[in-house]
Symmetry: C2
Subunit: 334 residues, 2 copies
């Protein structure tokens, strides 16, 4: 008889990386769907930097996860049993089902995905939230013009790797910032970035000066901290900084830190704008159609880093994300 | 025989407030204008927070003042002798003549002001750069809508006091942030602000919550530091932060500090945009016509804090500015 294995939030990490004791592993009976509901088996769990912010008490762009609640997570699942007119057994669906093997849903926020178009994990990557985030953040908030220089941090991460490729498709010069020579080589050789800067080498400012000689017109930031300061020091006049995340700060033990040189925004007549992908929900079809088109033409490559081993590997896989050990979209196969 | 008394930059302050030893007092013969030039006697010197940034080595939005050079300053002067077809003796002019009694100019960046419209110091305040900065920063960068809440820091300063009045004219709710109960009372009782928050009382966050219950739609920041962080914590969704200055940071002995909670820009889908008034030079006539109109109708009051005593008082008057001891535009009468 199958059980529903789950990870629940046991405690809020005061600061720093989540610890094993912040999680509670539980097993429950597999729930039964009521009228207008359906049961899913989660196949692939999405590991996202924002998860760290959901563990904190303060409200971010979504409420925090409550103590004792199943940890929030998006995923790709298969409908097992349906009493909902819009879903039928066997369909693959995307939704926020949580860190658990099974979930019951009323269909809100759940979309059916066509796995004949692309493998299921791609719907968590280039054809999922990562791709949608990259698309609206770059084109709507960053508004690069062909020929301009776009820089992106966490460039080998799930969002960054799409941002860089979209900017190339758009005719921009693209500089990625990533951790380690292997990722940097990959960005240039496999994903067509014009240059990549290894922030672990410790010369980000000088390297950006070399690779963005006319300054950065659009900086898509997933990282914050020193990398954001280095980019601020290298802005072109009228530059746009797209604030998509600040993964370097989420686990900081000293508390978050703002960019000391933020007044470069004045010197460069630049802007820094925050956005959340879900505000563009009405335009998802536009983004997905464009992304799927480029994927089909081979102009865009999706990259997923799929960890096998089931739900028991959730806590350690999340740490892999915060240590920057993934390339592309980090996914846990259940 | 008159001499030209001057203050020159003797040394760059490493950090903190400028010291007496950072200045060199010099006297020179009054210069003679060549062909196409004119000689002015400076009457009123403009004291500006940005002066502190010009003393540093790094390029800001203008190059730094060189060691040994006459300190840069704007002022209102009277043409004493002219060999320039566009200017004649007796005219009042605005220009960047430096911290000195006399200057020779070729007319570049110099405009004639009509002191029959308003007293000369007003052309350094509401009808000068302060008013122009307030006008474009508020209306072009901040873009408030009637009924929205506008907050402004250094609200009793030369720019802030105009920003608040313009926002009131525009139909906004206006909250000023200033240092001390006297300034706060003045803003509400004499300048029509809806509320004023005394940042020296130490409850800026709670006070903003009280006076901006629906959040801040436009924050016009002249200050940075804790005040900026308090405003970031109180943004309405889609808010615009106008970066006009960061006077709390210019004299910091610990180096400048960025807003630790800048990711509120993401949570609130907000933006922070830097601007420099001089980018709007082509539209100055629009701003000055509007400002002069409101001044004439009594809807806008100019406020100048005129210090008497001549050029010898320059170093200590500049400190008065950084200690927040002025209300309105700080001007030194020569």
């Amino acid at each position: 008889m199958p059980v529903n294995a789950q990870y629940r939030l046991a405690a809020r990490p005061a600061a720093g990386l989540p610890k094993d004791t912040d999680w509670q592993y539980t097993e429950e009976a597999v729930p039964a769907p009521g009228d207008g509901e359906f049961l899913v088996k989660v196949r692939y769990l999405s590991l996202d930097p924002a998860m760290r912010t959901w563990m904190n008490a303060g409200r971010s762009y979504v409420p925090p996860v409550g103590i004792g609640e199943v940890m929030r997570a998006a995923g790709i699942a298969e409908v097992v049993e349906s009493r909902h007119p819009g879903f039928r057994a066997g369909q693959s669906v995307f939704g926020t089902f949580g860190v658990q093997d099974f979930a019951v849903s009323d269909g809100k926020g759940v979309t059916i995905v066509d796995t004949s178009l692309a493998p299921a994990p791609t719907f968590l990557g280039a054809l999922g939230i990562s791709g949608i985030t990259a698309y609206f953040g770059l084109f709507d908030v960053g508004r690069p013009e062909p020929g301009q220089t776009v820089a992106v941090s966490a460039a080998a991460g799930s969002v960054g790797i799409v941002v860089g490729q979209l900017a190339k498709i758009h005719g921009c010069r693209v500089v990625g910032i990533a951790g380690g020579p292997g990722k940097c080589r990959m960005l240039v050789e496999e994903y067509g970035f014009d240059a990549a800067v290894d922030h672990r080498a410790g010369n980000v400012r000088a390297d950006l000066k070399e690779h963005a000689p006319d300054g950065i017109d659009v900086f898509f930031d997933n990282v914050g901290g020193d990398v954001l300061e280095a980019a601020l020091a290298r802005l072109a006049r009228g530059a746009r900084i797209v604030l998509s995340g600040a993964v370097s700060q989420y686990n900081s033990t000293e508390g978050p830190r703002g960019p000391a040189n933020y007044m470069q925004l004045l010197v460069r007549r630049a802007s820094m704008t925050g956005f959340v992908f879900s505000d563009y929900a009405e335009r998802y079809p536009e983004a997905i159609a464009a992304l799927a088109g480029w994927l089909g033409e081979g102009k865009l490559k999706s990259r997923e880093d799929v960890v096998e081993g089931g739900i028991a590997k959730f806590p350690e896989t999340l740490l892999k994300l915060f240590r920057g050990e993934n390339t592309g979209k980090l996914v846990l196969a259940l």
